[in-house]
Subunit: 346 residues, 2 copies
Amino acid sequence: MTSDKSDDARSINQRVTIREVAAKAEVALSSVSRALSGHPDVSDEMRKRVKEVADELGYEPNLVAQSLRSGVTRTIGFVVRDINNPMFALLARSCEHELRRNGYSMILVNSDGNIENENRNFSLLRRRRVDGLIASLVSEDSPYLRKNLAGPTEEAARLDREVKWVNASAVLADHAAGVHEAVTHLINKGHREIAFVTGSNNVYPTRNRLQGFTKAFEDANIKIQPDLMAIGGFDAEYALSHARILLHRNPAPTAILAGGHGALMGISRALKEKNLTMGKEIAFIALDQLPYLEVFSDNISTVYRDTEAIGREAARLMLEGIEGEAPRVSIIETQFIGRTSSQGGL
Amino acid sequence: MTSDKSDDARSINQRVTIREVAAKAEVALSSVSRALSGHPDVSDEMRKRVKEVADELGYEPNLVAQSLRSGVTRTIGFVVRDINNPMFALLARSCEHELRRNGYSMILVNSDGNIENENRNFSLLRRRRVDGLIASLVSEDSPYLRKNLAGPTEEAARLDREVKWVNASAVLADHAAGVHEAVTHLINKGHREIAFVTGSNNVYPTRNRLQGFTKAFEDANIKIQPDLMAIGGFDAEYALSHARILLHRNPAPTAILAGGHGALMGISRALKEKNLTMGKEIAFIALDQLPYLEVFSDNISTVYRDTEAIGREAARLMLEGIEGEAPRVSIIETQFIGRTSSQGGL
DNA sequence: ATCTTAACTGGAAACGTTTGCTATAGGGAA
DNA sequence: TTCCCTATAGCAAACGTTTCCAGTTAAGAT
């Protein structure tokens, strides 16, 4: 409870600066800077002396001043579409880890699915002079995008988004492949009434999944039934209301696909309402391996992608870009993992 | 002296500074600064003119320079014990939201349960001159704590940790109350062999839960059985191996408590191995309302606390502290929520 | 012995803001 | 008229670094 006076005056007052180190070591400011930053033009003697004094005084360089002078903040902004999706937590985590391993910090901001928020977030991060932006955009046709992605001063990397006119790095998952696999699996088992609930198609993952979905039908020479597709909302409410409608259809769907976290939540609630069990009365596949599924719902068939790899890869692309390398696009593969929830339904 | 060439280069590559705004508006630097920062000593005419020019040039203030000059970064560091625990994701999210609402950014760093990492994280954030630190410490007796929490220059707030000798704000959950309620519930139903798997007691939540646990036995005048308590590890592996041992005990436990995310994972795996179903052969209670439980495992009895409120409250304490108010401790209540998993077992 | 060079070291000017101080103009009071 | 405010505006000095440039010294080359 009692604050200690045991430390010297320094800890009560301001922080130690390079100037004080220089004074105590009786050398020039510039020498301290060079000694501490590993500059070659410093004698061993000098480096040793300065380091000793710096340690003794508990000197900790001011990154703010360093940034101002050097023009580099060693900070990356991470703009996330909607952090309610636990997928993003995982992504952010692995990305932060990789960045910090390379001496960068990450500032994470959440757009809450709102374009205006997203724009404000970009602006904030730009004012903070981050060295780079990693973004999972709310929409690929926001009116602010041009301003926010075409900035000349910082690197940009997109997470699972296509923006044709901007030449920045991106990590894209090959959703289509996994979805194709999953749907083909269902078709082969005899399913014809396959429902699909997903977010809006103003972002790449939705469009890409739809491609996989329709291609599977085409390849099987089966006509797709548009009224079994609910495309438009990422939230559980959208999914719940549309799943209800789909389940009342005649003929009822024998299988149902959830295009992400919100869809998964909404659909599972709708199924519970009608007392339908996944893998029994209806086949179910989650088109994303949400992290919480590992814990309890290990019966759920999913389209898997290595989310941590995506975060790590995004960080790598970012660092490469900062190093001056040309932007590139990295594709992460996906894979259907059949478990019991995709059985039954027929 | 810089040449025309470099001036050109600057206007293409570099960002607009206050100096360029001043030049174009034909006023002094200081006037631009005052006009844009809302300083009172500025005529309406001046403010209007400056704002117009600033907008026209797309001026965005350099927060790095502002920070250096003003000594304030409007950034809070959030040091999290182990981000693998989904609890922390939720916490961080609500905290970030509240901070940003008040004009602050958050830098989140993960200690991975390691004291050395934690120390490095503190050091990094201090070098970044954050205005405050919010920390869920790895341990309450780390040797680095004195250095890291007693800093004179930034505010500190603790998340669910007791450190008696430091006078900083804290948010503490009243785990004991909820656990007491839960255990009393079990005792009243006739349980006597109640097992408890939890993390190590070098942090407050473990100790506090233990208090509630033992008090419930005392109040019921029943002797506690120490060999039913596994205290020591936060990870699922620890919980798994100790749950196995506990389940082989004779007499076998009729109920089992999980003291957090890792314990929950480990125990549920151990139960599955022995083909025991929660709520049937054995009663089960999670001493934390992990966020993923809402999605699928809505049958699990828990001790609930409002995690988002904790994050929000931490942010508030931080902001209060920055405003100059005295540190204070905020208690969040907990509550036993009985569902089907805590039935059976007898 | 003198010149060159190499290996440092120190001084001072940036980086982009904020802010204390001083200067000016115009208006009201004396 | 003279004097003193008040309301603005501008100048210049910080903030804590890095880095360019110019010295200094000692050693090697001639």
